[in-house]
């Protein structure tokens, strides 16, 4: 086995350890929140009941059903055991729906909103940043402050401003949801159009923010690379500008790849605010609902999903980096 393979084996071990810690925190943190989820549910179910014995019975039943009556460690054991079989438990708040079902229904919404938005924003942002660095002049003087401006607006403010301007004042787009509320999800042109209409505003808000951040990063990196010695040396040997530009932008792209992978990795968690503002039926909205209802299994399910995607993204970055940049590959092999 060569040093490179050994490096990744060792790295994988560390990622597993990280995942285990994440699992513990996923389990523990929701349960540290003040409050008792069962009493909320029990009081809902027992609404109208007057007999305190029956109410107590309902409460105890739920305690048992959810396993909240056992000590924490035992609960964790059950959680792990179930997790191995792929069972994320039953939602408290949406009893008796399975957490995995809720997540399965939510993930496509989140991915369909975030992935295209991040990719489009990333590509446009990088192209703009590279052009600004290469062309300089007016383009740079306008683009750079604009990107800086957009990038410094907190996302929730930007989202709310867009919502106010484009949905409430101009009424170009619907205000909230993933599709018209009177519709039932089904495969028809009407439904798809409705989804697209609802998709546009949250999509644009993410694209705008991504463009700003990426353009700034790419511009800085490109300027740095354009001023490096190898650019001058290559040009003095008569290598054409377009080829030198290719060197420059390939090298400037490297940190941007990390940016892309990270934002795809944090996609699920990162969409929280956007989904809440636009009441979009993705993971973010569910996580928000789950926290409000102290829905332990659903919170753990959402955070587990986020942890997994982040770890996976990081791992992918390391592999990709090793392939693209020899300097990093060398340092990875040295680490062994």
């Amino acid at each position: 086995m060569n040093a490179y393979a050994r490096y990744f084996l060792k790295k994988s071990g560390w990622y597993l350890v990280t995942l285990l810690i994440a699992l513990i925190l996923n389990f523990l943190l929701p349960r540290l929140i003040e409050g008792n989820p069962v009493s909320t549910i029990a009081s809902q179910v027992s609404q109208g009941m007057t007999d305190s014995d029956s109410i107590k019975k309902v409460y105890d039943n739920f305690m048992k059903e959810f396993g909240v009556d056992k000590p924490l460690l035992a609960q964790f054991g059950i959680y792990l055991k179930k997790l191995v079989t792929g069972d994320l438990g039953t939602s408290f708040g949406l009893y008796p729906r399975k957490v995995s079902d809720i997540l399965m229904a939510a993930v496509p919404w989140t991915v369909a909103l975030q992935l295209p938005a991040i990719l489009v924003g990333w590509i446009i942002g990088n192209v703009l940043g590279a052009v600004a660095a290469y062309r300089k002049g007016v383009f740079d003087k306008v683009l750079f402050p604009a990107a800086l401006f957009v990038n410094s607006i907190p996302f929730f403010t930007l989202a709310i401003i867009m919502l106010y301007l484009l949905a409430i004042t101009l009424k170009w787009f619907p205000m909230s949801g993933g599709y018209d509320y009177q519709m039932v999800p089904h495969f028809s042109l009407d439904f798809i159009l409705s989804v697209l209409r609802h998709h546009t505003l949250p999509f644009l808000s993410i694209v705008l923010v991504t463009i700003g951040g990426q353009a700034i990063g790419m511009r800085e990196m490109s300027i740095y690379e354009l001023n490096s010695d190898y650019v001058l040396y290559s040009k003095l040997l008569g290598i054409r500008d377009s080829r030198v530009a290719r060197y420059v932008f390939k090298n400037a792209m490297l940190p941007q790849i990390t940016g892309l992978a990270l934002s795809i990795g944090t996609m699920v968690g990162g969409s929280l605010i956007c989904e809440i503002v636009f009441s979009y039926p993705g993971i973010g909205t569910w996580l928000f609902t789950a926290i409000r209802q102290l829905d332990y299994p659903l919170i753990s399910g959402c955070t587990l999903l986020i942890a997994l995607t982040v770890l996976l993204a990081n791992f992918t970055i390391e592999i990709v980096y090793g392939i693209v940049d020899p300097r990093i590959k060398a340092s990875q092999m040295e680490e062994n």
Partner: protein
């Protein structure tokens, strides 16, 4: 004498030295933020014959690095071309357009070795890939295997391991990187090689290897002439035939390496040689003389001799008009005083000490 002989018997005479590089009245300047022109190369004339190595020396900021960049005919902000001509093999490269300069001259006729070879190579490109890219520009008909064969052959000739070709720059040591850069720069057998402080960042062993490599390139005629820029004068003595000393954007003296090191005429050259650190016995007691003061601000060059401010022998007449180059007793230097006068002064100074 020899010239007369040559006239009479042309077939017996040695072939007259061909000039590979001729620079006339070259002026290049930097544009400051306030849009002022700062002439870092201010009217430079010199010629370089085939097979010769010319050294350019001077303090930091004297314009030697700018001159080396300017010789390439390739200008980009903040450096601009003012006037003058640079002829390589009889072609004035300043009259060619940017594209023809790139295609016909850069890398083929004149090549450059940068000050910081450490970063001269693209870190994410294997050496051979870069050479392939270089060949795509200048020898587009060669196939990849041909390029590799050619590169391997050249590397082997220059005692560089051909394995280097498959390395990334980060895998090479500093000295190795510098020699690789030199090998790449000269792969197309340029007429002129301009080396800007190629040894300054290296340890002594690597310095020697680089010097040996440069000499080898000249001997094997891979390059037809060499311009070696450095602030280390002893080094120039070993490498070059002629040395030129620059001060405040002008050449102040040119002579053979022997003359310049052991018998300088211009007061500035004299002072420069006096400030060399030579390890020898009793050196600790030897008082090292530094040149007092600093070179003039090029934004605002004084009238007359630019060195007058710092010169021990400066007179009133030094501070007016333009001081031309003076050719006297086989010496070329920029001073209003004769060789004998200057030498007398130097002798007096020696006595006083």
């Amino acid at each position: 004498m020899s010239r007369k002989l040559a006239d009479l018997q042309p077939e017996l005479a040695p072939e007259p030295l061909r000039r590979v590089l001729e620079v006339e009245g070259l002026k290049t300047y930097y544009r400051t933020r306030l849009n002022e022109k700062v002439f870092a190369v201010d009217g430079v004339d010199f010629a370089l014959e085939e097979g010769k190595a010319l050294g350019i020396a001077g303090e930091s900021g004297c314009g030697k690095s700018t001159l080396s960049m300017s010789l390439m005919g390739f200008y980009f902000p903040p450096l601009y071309y003012g006037e003058g001509s640079i002829s390589i093999g009889g072609i004035d490269i300043m009259k060619l357009g940017k594209e023809r300069l790139r295609k016909q001259i850069l890398g083929r006729e004149i090549a450059y070795i940068p000050q910081a070879a450490m970063n001269a190579l693209n870190p994410t490109l294997k050496i051979i890939r870069f050479i392939e890219d270089l060949m795509k520009e200048h020898q587009p008909k060669l196939t990849k295997p041909q390029v590799r064969a050619m590169a391997e052959e050249r590397f082997r000739t220059l005692h560089l391991a051909p394995e280097v070709l498959d390395a990334y720059p980060s895998e090479l040591s500093g000295g190795m990187k510098q020699r690789t850069v030199i090998a790449i720069s000269t792969i197309l057998n340029p007429k002129v090689l301009v080396a800007d402080e190629p040894t300054s960042a290296l340890d002594v062993t690597s310095q020697k290897a680089v010097i040996r490599l440069l000499k080898e390139l000249l001997d094997k005629k891979f390059i037809r002439s060499l311009i070696f820029i450095t602030h280390e004068l002893p080094l120039l003595y070993h490498v070059t035939d002629d040395i030129m000393v620059m001060y405040a954007g002008e050449i102040v003296e040119r002579g053979t390496a022997q003359q310049m090191v052991f018998d300088p005429v211009h007061p500035y050259t004299k002072r420069l040689m006096g400030s060399i650190i030579v390890p020898e016995e009793g050196m600790k007691d030897h008082k090292l003389s530094a040149i007092p003061g600093a070179p003039p601000n090029l934004k605002n060059v004084p009238e007359g001799c630019r060195f007058a401010e710092r010169c021990d022998f400066a007179r009133e007449e030094c501070r007016s008009g333009k001081i031309p180059m003076r050719v006297e007793a086989g010496r070329t230097y920029r001073c209003i005083f004769g060789v004998d006068t200057l030498k007398e002064w130097y002798a007096d100074e020696e006595v006083q000490r």
